[in-house]
Symmetry: C3
Subunit: 144 residues, 3 copies
């Protein structure tokens, strides 16, 4: 069995942003030498997501508006006025913990013939929901 | 290590439909000869999901109504009137890209003693959100 | 290749509750002897989730309130008055099948140097949406 383990560092200057990590993951699969296996890509922080969808900026803006409707940002800590109990810890990012559950923590992608085995439009993204600091993504490849 | 890789082709005549792919996946696990391992099943298209839940038609109708509330179909491209920016690309399927994020891209199922290791009611489904054309599901099995 | 397979039994006295299973999973990784690999943790029942997020009770209460808004409990079976068709089967847990899709069925965690490879705040939880009976979680570890 061959494995490759790599942490990718991100530092997004905005609170929320979608960033392609597709090329980085492709290169790591190539480096790993794995011909047949699985590639796990996950956010190592709990206010961010890794997901696969379309590389289209209009859709990304749609997601952002939609997630803000489903789990609005509110720095307050009173649920009666739209706040979150989590923010009583001194954080203002409770909405980010919710948005990440919709978009997911991780993707697992097959490797076949030494390459990511993806459909025609599948593209791997990192979704930052509480940026402005250094955070990590994990890529773990196993196979042979 | 043993592996099996198989693309299943779907062609759903309706826009949205839930289809069991359980037996197909079970047969592939059996074919693979893997006794102990993992089975990844994922939609290869970004307007469809693979998920595990109940094989009960009432629940499936409930899901459909619920997803339509969370991310309504609208072919328009003006967010102010319920449309999606994504539809400015000429598509009418932005809602499908949203619904798929709720239901998920993939499932990873354990294989034990040569069989899918599932709970009593776990059943594997494909959820098409933008059908009426040929699309693929990937099954990737690794183990020994 | 080494593997470890373990079913964890849960019996939650309430309908809904979030329970840490982090230590149990850590111990199984240690027992497995796997240095480099993947650890799948999934609910074996379709009205429960396994997820990774913050070990903070305020956030857990926020999740519960949020999920109740997205998919309210209603024992009825008439969609026109907030019920679910699924409850015509005699069940009252249709909401639980919906909540579980938001929070997810499973997590896949990397194992590196014989330990779960997690970010600083990642913590593994079981989320019961329809408790008061015995249910199982599966831990499957593969690697070498």
């Amino acid at each position: 069995m061959k494995t490759l383990t790599k942490e990718l560092w991100m530092d997004i200057p905005k609170r929320r942003q979608i960033i392609s990590i597709h090329n980085e993951v492709e290169q790591l699969v190539s480096q790993s030498g794995v011909q047949d296996g699985l590639c796990l890509v996950n956010a190592m922080h709990i206010t961010a997501s890794v997901f696969i969808n379309d590389n289209e900026s209009g859709l990304h803006a749609d997601y952002d508006r939609w997630l803000e409707q489903l789990a609005p940002f509110d720095a307050g800590s009173d649920p009666a006025t739209g706040g979150y109990l989590h923010n009583r810890t001194g954080e203002d990012n409770a909405d980010a913990h919710h948005k990440r559950q919709i978009m997911g923590r991780e993707v697992v992608v097959a490797i076949t013939d030494g390459r990511l085995h993806l459909g025609p439009w599948e593209h791997i993204f990192y979704y930052e929901f509480d940026g402005r600091r250094r955070k990590r993504i994990l890529v773990k490849i196993i196979g042979e």
